[in-house]
């Protein structure tokens, strides 16, 4: 019994302790609960505040948004819009009703309807561009980005849109496009090859049609080829030196004539000019290269050079030829002359007067022949290499000639006024004066002959004159006498080359020769020599 009670007491005690424990737990739990509910109250308040804040904030955004902002119902009737939208469209919702469809340009009706449909279906529509007519009847190009507003249940209730007036932007864009097109036309139609490149690029940024055609590469190929790579190997060194100067900012541009190797390995000669294009920080941004095809020019230059060379050679050969021919002609003449004089010497007694006379005639002809050959030779050698340019006192030249040539006693040769000292070849001057002076002497038919050598200064020329009182030259022969082998007087020894020599020498010194003559009274020859 005692044991039973004891057991019951212990059980009761355990129960008491358990209840106490349970009460304790309950108490702490309810405290916790209270705390949580307090917490919740606080956060709810906070949330409310936050919501209020956000709502007003949104209102602010709505009003202060720079772009035009419009809210409309699903039929397009505008419910709200901000100041920017009012400014852009010219409508005031306080006074006007506005359905967006009513201001859309008629050309855009269908497109607009389509876009609205898409907007409803997808929930948003971006970059819708449309022309609208504002209240004051101006047309504007507007870009619209719009989206649908849904209610809590997810049903669409309205649409909102941001409108941007892109009329100006668009016209600027169009202008830029147009200018770019115009520029491209110029670049593409230019006969000069044009390339745009950058130091770091693998190839060219741009090459125009002319360049592609010139070098045989396509624009695509040029994207991986630098002009330096298609430069002829013999011109690479010079070209690279200049390019490095440009790269190192030592020069802003350079210019050279060089060869390029075409795709088909042909050589193109080009006048190349490269200019650095710098940005505002003075850093090189691009290089503009222009290439002008001068292959034909170069070919012509080369031809000209070759022609000149061969001409020079031919001239030289001609000179040699003249000397050889003259030697070959003179040698037999010398032999004939010697044999004639020996015949005369050896058979003086046996020859009759008549034969002796004939032999003398033969000798005269031999002399004339010899003179002819000499004259031709000196004519052909005028203007050949070997002429010198010395300071020559013409007085001395004329005085020497007076001493050398045969002047019959009835003829007087005088120097009328002081002659100048000029720069020329002394031998040529002697040829010139001697021929004219001899002519003057040879054609004098008066009992007292007079030959006067004179000089007059002209601006760019020395003008000399040789005047005689001979038989004169008829007008119709004034031109002809300068022709080769033409003689018009009755002077026996004339070979018809003297005046040709004179004319050639005068022309060598860029001067002219002319004459004044009166038949029976005399002739004056004038000739000029360029200073």
């Amino acid at each position: 019994m005692h044991n039973k009670i004891e057991i019951l007491e212990r059980a009761l005690q355990r129960q008491k302790a358990a209840r106490k424990e349970a009460e304790k737990i309950l108490e702490s739990k309810s405290y916790e609960l209270f705390n949580v509910s307090e917490e919740l109250k606080k956060s709810y308040k906070k949330l409310e505040d936050l919501l209020q804040e956000k709502t007003s904030e949104l209102e602010g955004v709505f009003l202060n948004i720079i772009d035009a902002y419009v809210v409309m119902d699903l039929q397009g009737n505008v419910l709200r819009m901000n100041d920017s939208a009012e400014d852009m469209l010219g409508y005031d919702l306080k006074k006007d009703e506005l359905n967006l469809m009513s201001i859309v340009h008629e050309d855009y009706f269908e497109y607009t309807k389509q876009s609205f449909k898409e907007l409803y279906e997808k929930g948003s529509y971006t970059d819708f561009q449309v022309i609208i007519r504002t209240k004051n009847n101006t047309e504007k190009l507007v870009q619209v980005n719009s989206s649908i507003i849904y209610n809590k249940e997810g049903a669409p209730i309205a649409a909102q849109g941001i409108l941007r007036d892109i009329t100006l932007e668009n016209s600027i864009k169009e202008l830029v496009e147009q200018q770019k097109k115009q520029l491209n036309i110029v670049v593409d139609h230019s006969p000069i090859g044009i390339a745009l490149s950058n130091k770091d690029d693998k190839g060219l940024i741009m090459a125009n049609n002319a360049l592609c055609k010139l070098l045989g590469y396509s624009m695509e190929e040029f994207k991986n080829i630098k002009l330096q790579e298609v430069t002829h190997k013999e011109d690479k060194e010079d070209s690279n030196k200049l390019r490095d100067k440009l790269y190192n900012n030592k020069v802003d541009s350079y210019f050279l004539e060089k060869r390029y190797l075409k795709k088909d390995n042909d050589i193109v000669w080009a006048r190349t000019s490269v200019t650095a294009v710098k940005d505002s920080n003075n850093r090189v941004k691009y290089h503009v290269t222009t290439i002008e095809d001068i292959t034909t020019q170069k070919k012509l230059e080369k031809q000209k050079e070759e022609l000149l060379n061969s001409l020079e050679k031919q001239n030289e050969q001609l000179n040699d030829y003249a000397h050889i021919v003259s030697h070959d002609l003179k040698s037999p003449l010398r032999a004939i002359s010697a044999l004639l004089s020996w015949t005369k010497e050896d058979f003086e007694d046996k020859l009759g007067t008549e034969s002796l006379f004939n032999l003398n005639l033969m000798e005269d002809k031999v002399y004339k022949m010899d003179k002819l050959i000499g004259d031709i030779l000196s004519y052909s050698s005028i203007g050949q290499e070997g002429d010198t340019s010395d300071t020559v006192n013409v007085n001395n030249v004329v005085k020497d000639i007076i001493d050398i040539i045969y002047i019959p006693s009835h003829i007087k040769v005088i120097i009328k006024n002081e002659l100048p000292t000029i720069v020329a070849d002394a031998t040529r001057l002697q040829q010139l004066f001697q021929n004219i002076m001899s002519n003057a002497i040879n054609y004098i038919d008066k009992e007292e002959g007079l030959v006067e050598v004179g000089y007059k200064d002209s601006k760019d020329f020395y003008v000399f004159s040789v005047k005689d009182n001979g038989c004169g030259i008829p007008k119709e022969n004034h031109e002809k006498i300068f022709k080769m082998f033409k003689t018009y007087g009755d002077y026996e020894k004339s070979t018809g080359i003297g005046l040709s020599i004179v004319k050639k020498v005068v022309e060598l010194y860029e001067g002219e020769i002319w004459l004044e003559s009166e038949e029976g009274k005399g002739t004056t020859f004038f000739f000029s020599i360029k200073k």
Partner: protein, 137 residues
């Protein structure tokens, strides 16, 4: 006072040789004349280096070896280059004259047309050289 000269006359034209001989005879001179018809013959004679001439009279226009070529060979020979050589020619080509003087000549005479003038010229030429001191042998 005038010495007798040993003259090598290099001339391909028979009549020119006759003219020279006749001149020497006419002027009563007793120079020894060695004739060579062309440059090769002359070189053959000279290369023996025996009985070398005092002076050489040389025509420029000759077949085969011409005067200037002969002159250049002569002037490249250590012994022969000292022999005074006078050109006798009809050519007054400036270039020929220049080349001859460059090679080293002792005179350049253009043959006159008239025999009388020729005699006078050769007379004074020989007179001048026979008054000169010359390398003998």
């Amino acid at each position: 006072m005038n010495k007798n000269l040993k003259i090598l006359l290099i001339e391909d034209d028979m009549i020119e040789v006759m003219k020279f001989n006749r001149t020497v005879t006419k002027l009563n001179l007793s120079h020894e004349i060695i004739e060579a018809n062309n440059g090769e013959d002359a070189l053959q004679f000279l290369s023996k280096k025996v009985g070398l001439p005092d002076i050489i009279l040389l025509d420029l226009n000759m077949p085969k070896l011409n005067g200037i070529e002969f002159l250049n060979i002569l002037k490249n020979d250590e012994t022969l280059k000292y022999i005074p050589t006078i050109i006798l020619t009809t050519s007054n080509n400036r270039r020929d004259i220049l080349e001859c003087y460059k090679a080293g000549i002792a005179g350049y005479i253009i043959k006159p047309l008239k025999f009388k003038d020729y005699v006078d010229l050769i007379g004074s030429l020989l007179d001048y050289w026979s008054k000169n001191e010359l390398i003998k042998g």
